[in-house]
């Protein structure tokens, strides 16, 4: 670990000192200095979330002020949502018993790569949309690039930039069923693999 360049204990704010003490009590002696900040942030976020939830519950119960029961309820609900813990041991033993009763399946000989059905694999091809016409009129500065939803553009080198009237290749990954506005553009779908090319459209999600 890098030498801890923490603020000297006297000048660190009080809650940072408390956090450092907690870490020490739990036996953690080596940690990066930013860990304290992260823990403080987490503590702040957690406590405010709980208190906000508690306020909602107490107002729902038409109480004038937040009391311990509201806070307790808020904690329980949050625990079920965010801090799930692994299933309990007897549950695991039970499903293990069920699962282990089925005999091991025989292996088919002479098959190719042994992979699960396609639906469960990540081997579906990616789709690309390729624009045909380059010079859609540069009149009136109309944006010729269809609007894409976030995440639909793969990291291809020819990422379209706004306003450029040159030939553009717009790539849409096959998994995102993003509605692409096709206003005024003609596109063909270019599928990299040797499957019959389909018309443009939303590629089916696997």
């Amino acid at each position: 670990m890098e030498a801890a360049k923490m603020a000297s204990p006297k000048s660190a704010p009080k809650d940072a000192q408390v956090m450092a003490q907690i870490l020490k009590d739990m036996g953690i002696t080596e940690y990066e200095p930013r860990v304290i900040n992260q823990m403080l942030e987490f503590a702040y976020r957690y406590v405010t979330t709980i208190l906000e939830d508690a306020k909602i519950y107490s107002s729902h119960a038409k109480k004038s002020s937040v009391d311990a029961d509201d806070v307790r309820l808020a904690i329980q609900c949050r625990t079920d949502q965010s801090f799930t813990s692994p299933p309990p041991r007897d549950f695991l033993l039970d499903i293990a018993r069920q699962k282990n009763q089925t005999p091991l399946p025989l292996i088919k000989p002479y098959s190719g790569p042994r992979l699960p059905p396609d639906r469960y694999c990540l081997t579906a091809p990616n789709y690309r949309l390729k624009s045909l016409q380059k010079k859609v009129s540069s009149t009136a500065g109309r944006i010729t690039v269809p609007r894409l939803s976030v995440g639909a553009v793969s990291s291809r080198p020819s990422t379209p930039t706004l306003g450029t009237p040159s030939a553009q290749t717009v790539s849409v990954s096959a998994k995102v069923g993003a509605p692409v506005s096709l206003a005024g553009q003609r596109f063909t779908v270019q599928i990299p693999s040797s499957q019959p090319a389909g018309k443009s459209g939303i590629p089916g999600t696997p």
């Binding site: 799930t84 692994p86 309990p88 007897d90 549950f91 039970d94 018993r97 091991l104 693999s193």
Partner: protein
């Protein structure tokens, strides 16, 4: 009134009228609310923490109703209801599942202890076990044990830790916080040093709500802590505990501890210290009695292409007259069928493809040139240091023929390097593939795309640090497991991700391909290990039983067994065929991080955070050796190709070589040893240590013996 109510409830339970019992109890709860701690109901909405309480041996019925799915029942259950409590703290965790509960729909486990004697129950109720007296009970026991004879004292001292933890947890569970705290303060210093980590976790559990989130402590509370005590010591203890008026401790002992009694000499402190340390005590002797097929599978016979220097190997079924060449042979060839080897078709294994056969031929050719290692002939060590990893290197693997090395990183990337001058190439695209000549001899070269040749390939896909990587034996696939809960299968021909196996919903700490390919095992934070096959999207086997995370998973060389090391400080050996746990090895004092099977399949070496390497005989289920020397966690263990040398790599920046042949010779396996599992370990670590090699501040993360017995090591340079 109260006593008749209790008696009625008891009667209802005995006649199995559970519903009416519950209804009555629910109403009774209203009466019982003001009557002290032990009749408190818990109204929490924990998503299905259902504990199965311990059942006193030989008495009563325990019906664990872990309903999954349709049979899940949500019933209000009570904590420490007077009818069921043998000890005041109550032996059940009862939760009331609110309908708003989260995703888990686990029915409450209703465990009913049938009390044949109602009056005993009533007396148990009356005698609630005053929380303030817990300290007295404990110190009374402590006094008794310290005054007992020396030969018994070591064994009886084993009681301290589990009793301490259970009493503390009971106090916490029944919400006697101040008593719990003072109890802890007074007695936690007496416990053995190797329990310090657990005690620290325990000190943070001060309220009942804290316990709910800590699965490990809940499991501890509901599983039986196993102690092995000789009959004499046990009689002594029993007599003492039963004669006192307040036999709370006896109740606790009966409920939470399983005392495995053996006939014979009481063990010495040293013997005990070697074997204890795990979260659940030691292993019961029956747990290690199942037959384990630790032999190796026979290698198939096939023709070797003629080569002048190679006369060996094509016929691996030893013909009695054929002189065994001086080349090394894998596995035992002298018998037709090794009685310790599993039948060939015990578990289905993929058939050998042509490429696999070629691989085996290469393997044998390399084996011919293998250096024979020994105390006089130590291997050379070649260290691969990962630079600029910024403490992000979390997993390393090397292919069997030492041609590729993969690193899993905390930034969720998986990077594959070629170790040989031959670069990594990916297969051509489909369009190009249709153009090549499929009949040519070097078609396997032509399908590779030269434009993509590089020494490094980076694989993106995980969304969390990659904690485990494993190459397939045929070098076509790579597995990686990560904190995001998935195990990913990558193709090493296209360098893309093929499948993501989802099953663990929690970080997966380790994964490994089977030595024959097709199967792989993964272990994670959810305390189970899973066996998968590459063509099934769900696991084939689930190995449940550990009390804490499964940190390390390895296949046995014959692919029929899986060893898992866990943070509960035990190693379990599981049978792939039916998922049973066939061996439990205790003795480490810290979470286990490395496992290695010897090449002959008979022995297992394990390394943990306590810096010791322990050696186990799988057939007998005994600890046969302890190698002390490392000062920090051991992350890498590997036997040499013929099993003569054991190499261990650790966070203390050293690689140590140990003499495995000497460590495993002259095992005392007389009847007493096999019956009781007790051994006297010789203090011979110094004799077995053949060499210590220090790196320059690079912890050793992976070790690998090449086919010619050159030792490769890998680690990331850390600047501290």
């Amino acid at each position: 009134d109260r006593q008749t109510l209790v008696a009625v409830l008891q009667f209802l339970r005995r006649s199995n009228l559970r519903e009416s019992e519950e209804i009555l109890r629910r109403e009774a709860r209203l009466l019982g609310d003001d009557l002290g701690g032990s009749v408190a109901t818990v109204a929490t909405s924990s998503p299905g923490v259902a504990a199965v309480a311990a059942v006193p041996p030989g008495k009563g019925e325990a019906r664990g109703d872990c309903g999954v799915g349709p049979s899940s029942r949500r019933e209000p259950q009570e904590v420490g209801s007077p009818c069921a409590a043998r000890s005041p703290g109550g032996s059940r965790l009862s939760e009331q599942l609110l309908l708003l509960a989260g995703a888990f729909a686990v029915g409450g486990a209703v465990v009913v202890e049938d009390q044949p004697d109602v009056s005993a129950v009533l007396s148990a109720y009356n005698q609630q076990g005053d929380p303030t007296l817990y300290e007295e009970y404990y110190s009374g026991l402590k006094h008794f044990i310290e005054c007992s004879l020396d030969c018994h004292r070591a064994e009886l001292s084993q009681l301290f830790y589990p009793l301490f933890v259970h009493m503390y947890l009971e106090l916490v569970y029944n919400q006697h916080e101040s008593e719990a705290k003072s109890f802890f303060e007074r007695f936690h210093g007496d416990q053995e040093c190797y329990y310090q980590d657990d005690l620290r976790v325990l000190s943070s559990l001060t309220k009942k709500e804290h316990m709910k989130g800590n699965e490990t402590m809940l499991d501890f509370r509901t599983s039986k802590f196993v102690l092995r005590i000789s009959r004499d010591s046990y009689q002594l203890l029993k007599r003492h505990l039963q004669e006192k008026q307040n036999n709370q401790i006896w109740n606790i002992v009966q409920e939470h501890l399983y005392i495995d009694i053996f006939d014979g000499m009481p063990r010495s402190k040293q013997q005990i210290d070697a074997m204890v340390g795990s979260l659940a005590g030691e292993a019961k002797r029956e747990a290690n009695k199942a037959k384990v097929f630790f032999g190796l599978l026979k290698e198939p016979e096939f023709d070797v292409p003629l080569d002048d220097e190679d006369e060996e190997g094509e016929n691996e079924e030893g013909k009695p007259k054929k002189k065994k060449p001086k080349k090394d042979n894998v596995g035992s060839k002298s018998k037709k069928q090794d009685p310790n080897a599993p039948p060939q078709n015990r578990i289905p294994l993929p058939e050998l493809k042509d490429s696999d056969k070629l691989d085996k031929v290469m393997n044998m050719k390399e084996a011919a040139r293998r250096v024979r290692l020994g105390p006089e002939c130590l291997p050379s060590i070649c260290f691969y240091t990962f630079l600029n990893a910024y403490q992000g290197l979390t997993a390393v693997d090397i292919t069997d023929d030492s041609s590729m090395i993969v690193g899993g990183f905390a930034d969720s990337t998986v990077r594959v390097w070629s170790v040989t001058p031959k670069k990594l190439r990916s297969v051509k695209t489909a369009a190009d593939l249709s153009l090549i000549d499929k009949e040519s001899d070097d078609v396997l070269e032509r399908i590779m795309d030269e434009k993509t040749a590089s020494e490094l390939k980076i694989l993106y896909g995980h969304s969390g640090p990659v904690y485990g990587t494993s190459f397939s034996p045929d070098r076509n696939y790579l597995l990686s497991c990560s904190e995001d809960g998935t195990v990913r299968l990558w193709s090493l021909q296209t360098f893309t991700c093929l499948v993501g196996y989802k099953g663990h919903n929690y970080p997966v700490w380790d994964t490994q391909f089977s030595p024959y390919g097709y199967y792989f095992v993964s272990g994670g934070h959810d305390r189970v290990a899973r066996l998968w096959a590459t063509d099934h999207y769900q696991p084939l086997r689930i190995f449940a039983g550990h009390l804490a995370d499964v940190t390390c998973t390895r296949f046995h060389p014959n692919s029929n067994y899986i060893a898992t090391g866990s943070a509960d400080r035990t190693i379990r050996l599981w049978d792939v065929l039916n998922g049973n746990c066939v061996r439990i090895f205790t003795g480490h004092k810290g979470p286990i991080h490395s496992l290695a099977f010897s090449p002959n399949g008979r022995f297992l070496a394990t390394g943990a955070t306590d810096g010791r390497v322990l050696l186990w005989d799988i057939g007998h289920g005994l600890m046969v050796g302890e190698l002390k020397g490392h000062t920090d966690t051991i992350y890498a263990l590997r036997f040499s190709r013929d099993g003569e040398i054991l190499a261990s790599g650790s966070m203390d920046n050293t690689v140590r070589l140990w003499d495995a042949v000497k460590a495993f010779e002259d095992l005392e396996t007389d009847d007493f040893t096999t019956a009781t599992g007790h051994i006297n370990l010789p203090e011979n670590s110094q004799d077995l240590l053949l060499g210590t090699y220090m790196t320059k501040s690079t912890p050793v993360v992976h070790l690998h013996f090449t086919r010619r017995n050159l030792l490769l090591a890998a680690g990331a340079y850390s600047s501290q």
